[in-house]
């Protein structure tokens, strides 16, 4: 049974649906990457999973139950975490307070998880007393991921984690995502850097107009001449 399975999900913000039947299935060992042109419904898919917009059709199964239209404070304890694309840190809170907020739904001792996050991002340990707003873009992205990992999710969703980062940081963030995956966290992310992201994706989904156009492993999609021509810029 997949970790998460979207079956023909339809949804939007009230008016005409933006998602017109999206199918996605991810295992715990997977790094799933959603690519596609602007307005294809990539970010919308993640938001639909996380209950941030109305799902009007289809099912979203996570851990054996349909979680469509559940709100984040119910989803986070179930093992789902989300890193939004923009404004994804609490700028006036310290790095450590940001991480604590990620553990808000936990009532157990989370100091071990915090150590785990600090081991993964050593630079955050150094800056743990600093307001997150004072960090660089790449470090903020680490805070955002760290915050999302504090609930010990089984599935981490990231909305364009490489957006606005310099090429050096893009590679670093992708490597970090792979490392998180190796620690036993399933990944589902949306990426603008399609070719780079698909290169390490075990599952790739090409969306267009709110529907799956192509599905396969990352390398398969890169090798597919039609995908390359229409979606990866030749």
């Amino acid at each position: 049974m997949p970790l998460i399975e979207l079956k023909h999900v339809v949804g939007g913000y009230g008016g005409a649906p933006i998602l017109n039947g999206v199918d996605i299935a991810i295992e715990k060992s997977d790094i799933g990457v959603i690519v596609g042109p602007n307005g294809a419904g990539k970010s919308t898919t993640l938001k639909a999973i996380f209950g941030l917009l109305k799902v009007t059709g289809g099912t979203i199964e996570f851990g054996g139950e349909n979680i469509a239209n559940s709100l984040p404070d119910k989803l986070v304890p179930k093992g789902l975490s989300f890193v939004p694309q923009e404004k994804n840190v609490f700028t006036s809170l310290s790095v450590e307070e940001n991480l604590e907020m990620g553990a808000f739904t936990r009532s157990d001792d989370y100091s071990e998880t915090m150590e785990w996050v600090y081991d993964m991002f050593p630079v955050l340990r150094e800056k743990r007393r600093q307001p997150a707003g004072e960090l660089s873009g790449g470090q903020r992205q680490m805070v955002a991921m760290g915050r999302a990992l504090m609930s010990r999710p089984s599935l981490l969703m990231l909305d364009e984690p490489s957006a606005g980062l310099s090429p050096r940081y893009v590679i670093e963030i992708f490597e970090t995502i792979q490392r998180v995956n190796q620690e036993g966290v399933g990944i589902l992310m949306v990426e603008q850097n399609a070719r780079q992201a698909l290169a390490f994706a075990s599952k790739g989904f090409v969306l267009a107009q709110g529907q799956n156009r192509f599905t396969g492993t990352g390398p398969e999609l890169i090798a597919d001449p039609e995908v390359a021509k229409s979606f990866l810029g030749g």
Binding site: F50, L52, L71, P72, D73, L75, V76, P77, F82, P84, K87, N88, V89, F90, T91, S92, L93, E97, E100, M101, G102, F104, T105, R147, A148, S151
Partner: protein
């Protein structure tokens, strides 16, 4: 020396009393703005409501023949704070929460809070009449502590009343408690997180409904303290705190909306500015008359602003702040 003592009595002590009241009111306004993104215009009346609740409890206690060495209003304050907090939660549930659920704009909520203002004032007038009452229910007299200053060459003492002294201590305790809550407790941090970025707070799984309730509990109970202090300082009447809701808003904005420490600083800043502006400087500068040339004397009243225009001081500061530093002293929310 006597001039300095006069200055301490008239400016330092009354300024601190007024500052405490403004600060406690402004904390509520700034927290509500930070979490719920609307200007809670009815906050002054929440303060009045708190003062009347303290008044009723104190009267009841006095009627039972209980006499205590403290003003009764202070004794019943913890209970009054709890009751005001519960009423604040009820007002939110009854009036603001349904509007939020429909995605109402901040302006709609502001208008609703003006409605709540009228309602609270109307209810108070209906129950208690529109006259002025004393919150010193058992005919308690204000004990005055006189600090003899003859050792420093002063012929007059520094006067602090017992209620004033308790107010200073209470305000200091509340500020420290609030600071510890916001920086040490999980819920306090969640409150700052939600004021910083409400969407991300929701995405993190923070129970935002709980944070909203905690906000009303803090805002309501502090409003009760501020209202009761104001009633102890002035007198109890239905439009008690409605009259000062504008300087309180100015304090919150000057401090930086959404910023609790800013509200405290803003409260004291506005209060001292008002007190200094209406202070008659002649009283302090009188010794200068001796050195002034023959035929010249200081005018009898050298106040910058006549007392009846005290309110304008808050607005002048507000306008200057908005022109020079629109986000307030501490960087507050700009929306």
């Amino acid at each position: 020396m006597d001039e300095l003592i006069f200055f301490i009595n008239r400016v330092l002590i009354s300024g601190t009393v007024l500052g405490s009241i403004y600060a406690l009111g402004a904390i509520g306004i700034t927290l509500i703005f930070g979490i719920l993104r609307f200007a809670h215009f009815a906050h002054g009346d929440m303060m009045t409501m708190g003062a009347f609740i303290a008044f009723v409890l104190a009267t009841a206690l006095a009627a039972m023949g209980i006499i205590l060495p403290l003003p009764m209003a202070f004794v019943v304050l913890p209970v009054a704070m709890v009751l005001t907090a519960i009423l604040a939660l009820g007002i939110d549930k009854g009036f603001y929460a349904p509007l939020r659920a429909r995605g109402a704009k901040p302006v709609t909520l502001l208008i609703a809070s003006i409605g709540v203002t009228l309602m609270i004032q109307g209810l108070i007038r209906l129950i208690f009449g529109s006259g002025t009452k004393s919150i010193y229910v058992a005919g308690e007299s204000k004990d005055i502590f006189r600090f003899d200053m003859s050792w420093a060459g002063g012929s007059r003492p520094i006067n602090i009343t017992e209620p004033q002294l308790i107010m200073f201590v209470l305000t200091a305790l509340i500020v420290v408690a609030l600071h510890l809550f916001l920086t040490r407790s999980r819920l306090g941090k969640a409150m700052r997180a939600m004021a910083d970025n409400a969407d991300l707070a929701q995405v993190s799984g923070i129970n935002t409904a709980l944070v909203v309730r905690v906000t009303w509990v803090i805002a309501g109970s502090l409003a009760c303290v501020a209202g009761t202090m104001l009633a102890l300082d002035v007198a109890l009447m239905p439009d008690l705190a409605f009259n000062i809701v504008l300087p309180i808003f100015a304090a919150a904005i000057v401090g930086g909306l959404g910023h609790a420490y800013g509200a405290i600083v803003g409260g004291f800043l506005i209060a001292f500015a008002e007190t200094l502006a209406v202070f008659n400087w002649t009283a302090v500068l009188r010794p200068l008359n001796a050195v002034l040339p023959e035929g010249m004397a200081l005018p009898a009243n050298l106040a910058l602003v006549p007392t009846e225009y005290k309110l304008t001081v808050a607005f002048v500061i507000l306008v200057i702040t908005l022109l020079v530093r629109p986000t307030g002293i501490f960087k507050g929310a700009s929306t």
